[in-house]
């Protein structure tokens, strides 16, 4: 049992007083910045990086990692409580988490989010320890055609799972795809839909749209309602999930973990894709999909688990191949190199204390976050007893500072205000913003990978079916389409015979 020995060795490293302390600091700072929109782990780690020069490398990495997944935990808190996505990946949590909060079930939502995250974190820590290197090599097989087919599968699933007004949902996906085009074209460098604003050259930030549509839009909507004076039910209800809640939340957590782990290993995906995918799957398998968007606990449990699993598994390509799968991971890589450690397959042998210590501390960090967060749930929930007329200016303050601080740009704040107006318009017209966000996330990656794949193949579209992984995704997409049309066919037949 070499793995056991290694893990015990790792825990030995991580349990030193110094490393525990750095882990705690990292988790605390991470939770804090996770709660605030805009300021993400990336900016924070960049700011703290110089401080780690004088800290031993293991402790430094443990602290930075703590910030990273602390932010993932913290991001869900404001999403659930006030519909303010603190972190890119927690946008999906807004949908059902916030509705749960309005029904007086904020405590349950927070607890399930924490449990789901912790479970996913535990599983993925093991995955990193057990299968890191082979999985990382598998991920390298993903080229442009594979990524395109994967995105395609995502869009097909989205189309299939669009409920309620399917036509409008699909249209909103296209709106999102178009919004995703704004900015410099990767292939030609030309600035599309920028209207002469250099500020738009990098595209519109996901957090800007999400905060605009969800946080600002929600406030306008709440203030517009002449009758409903109480936004949150005054009775807070049980803080902890009932047995029924746990029963309902368990399968989504398992599925979310698996999904997040898979997508997390691929360097070309973002955590928001994992959360979207998990949400869509939960909605599809649910017995009563209509509950989604109205406070379904599965809609919190699945995406939260997926988010954390994705975040954790992003360490695999970074530690074993030296490939940073996200901006934050690039910074961590930088931190390693500042300490003279070259990430890659050798890191496990050259620096076992670092590798196993970091892995052990991931789990300790996750445990710390649950311990930190559970007692805080009562405090967070009591925040909702603040009268709404005082709460909403505070939400505005956090939104504004968060957005401004991302690029230190006023322009971003103006855009967020615009999206607040758009958000309320969409709401009145019955157009859901969630499919729009999905299109926004997938669109640029789809276009980029499609064009790149065709450029490399000299315009030959057969690359998508001659490469096995790509083919697999396309087959799955077709299967999903078939499964979707089947019930419709069945239903019609039922009508005829009945």
């Amino acid at each position: 049992m070499e793995l056991f020995q290694n893990l015990i060795f790792g825990f030995g490293v991580a349990f030193s007083l110094q490393n525990l302390l750095y882990c705690l600091i990292g988790c605390l700072v991470g939770t804090l910045i996770g709660v605030l929109p805009g300021i993400g782990p990336m900016a924070t780690i960049a700011m703290l990086l110089p401080l780690t020069y004088n800290v031993p490398p293991v402790a430094a990495m443990i602290m930075l990692a703590g910030i990273y997944y602390g932010a993932m935990y913290g991001g869900s808190t404001t999403s659930i409580l006030v519909n303010l996505p603190g972190e890119t990946a927690s946008v999906i949590t807004c949908i059902d988490g916030y509705q749960m909060a309005r029904q007086g079930r904020a405590g349950v939502a927070l607890a399930i989010a924490a449990f789901g995250s912790f479970f996913a974190g535990t599983v993925c820590t093991l995955i990193v320890a057990l299968f890191g290197p082979p999985l990382a090599n598998m991920a390298l097989n993903f080229g442009s055609p594979e990524y395109f087919s994967l995105m395609m599968m995502g869009l097909v699933t989205a189309a299939v799972l669009a409920q309620g007004d399917m036509l409008k949902s699909l249209a909103m996906v296209v709106v999102g795809l178009l919004l995703g085009i704004v900015g410099s074209d990767v292939d030609s460098g030309i600035k599309r839909f920028c209207f002469g604003f250099y500020e738009l050259a990098d595209g519109i930030g996901f957090v800007i749209i999400a905060v605009g549509v969800f946080a600002v839009g929600e406030i306008i909507s709440n203030l517009s309602d002449p009758e409903e004076r109480v936004v949150f039910t005054s009775k807070v209800g049980s803080l902890y999930p009932s047995r029924e809640d746990i029963r309902q939340a368990t399968p989504p957590i398992l599925r979310g973990t698996a999904l997040g782990a898979f997508l997390g290993i691929l360097p070309g995906t973002t955590p928001s894709i994992a959360t979207f995918a998990s949400y869509m799957i939960e909605k599809k398998v649910a017995r009563d999909p209509a509950r989604f968007g109205r406070g379904a606990i599965e809609g919190v449990a699945g995406p939260e688990a997926a988010n954390n699993a994705d975040a954790q598994c992003k360490f695999i390509p970074m530690l074993t191949l030296g490939i940073p799968a996200s901006g934050t991971m690039a910074l961590m890589l930088g931190a390693l190199m500042i300490h003279g450690i070259t990430p890659g397959p050798g890191v496990m042998n050259q620096k076992p204390d670092l590798f196993w210590g970091l892995i052990a501390s991931m789990w300790i960090g996750n445990l710390m976050l649950v311990i930190l967060n559970l007692p805080l749930i009562g405090m967070w929930v009591s925040l909702l007893k603040v009268p709404y007329r005082m709460l909403f200016p505070a939400i505005m303050v956090f939104s504004a500072i968060g957005i401004y601080s991302t690029n230190n740009a006023s322009f971003d704040v103006y855009i967020a205000g615009m999206f607040g107006v758009l958000g309320i318009a969409w709401r009145l017209l019955g157009c859901s913003p969630v499919p729009m966000l999905l299109g926004f996330v997938l669109g640029p990656m789809m276009e980029e990978n499609l064009r790149r794949a065709l450029q490399v193949s000299e315009g030959d579209p057969s690359v998508f079916i001659t490469r096995p992984i790509s083919l697999a995704f396309i087959v799955v997409s077709l299967l999903i389409l078939a499964v979707m049309t089947l019930p419709a066919v069945k239903k019609r037949r039922g009508e005829i015979t009945g």
Binding site: L178, I220, L223, M390, S399, A400, I401, V413, L429
Partner: protein, 150 residues
């Protein structure tokens, strides 16, 4: 058969989609379209715009048939004041610094509410400003001048 179009929900939703789609197509005409072999920067936006126009037409058709009305209320005051408060925040961050920007943001956004109690808002403004300074400027070390020029 004349239906009230002014409050027809799907009619307006479709119109919005058509407007976005057409807008995208018109602007994207300036970008090279390319071919399926070597797509130019205009390829995706033009195709997507066209699809969106089709969707929009379909939604309009649905709207004309069902005649569903727009539901829910809209407070013009909130609709105008909240974006304005954000705009003020952005402008004052550049012109005057962190404290005036926050003060304006809290004040104007609070004015968008149903009740406006002067003393309460003043207290809230002070509280939020102090808390933000402690959290963002001292805690996270963001490099914003509290009041410009001082």
């Amino acid at each position: 058969m004349k239906r009230e179009l002014r409050s027809n929900k799907d009619f307006w939703a479709g119109m919005m989609l058509i407007a976005i789609g057409l807008g995208a197509m018109i602007i994207a005409r300036e970008y090279r379209f390319g071919s399926t072999l070597r797509m130019g920067p205009g390829f995706f936006p033009v195709i997507l715009g066209a699809i969106l126009v089709l969707f929009g037409l379909a939604v309009v058709a649905v709207g004309l048939r069902s005649g569903e009305k727009i539901q829910g209320h809209l407070s013009l005051r909130a609709l105008i004041l909240l974006p304005v408060s954000l705009a003020l925040f952005g402008a004052l961050m550049e012109l005057a610094g962190f404290v005036p920007a926050l003060a304006a943001l809290v004040f104007v956004s609070a004015a968008a509410g149903r009740e406006f109690k002067f003393v309460e808002v003043l207290l809230l403004m002070v509280l939020l400003t102090v808390a933000s300074i402690a959290l963002f400027i001292w805690g996270l070390g963001l490099p914003y001048p509290l009041i410009k020029g001082i």
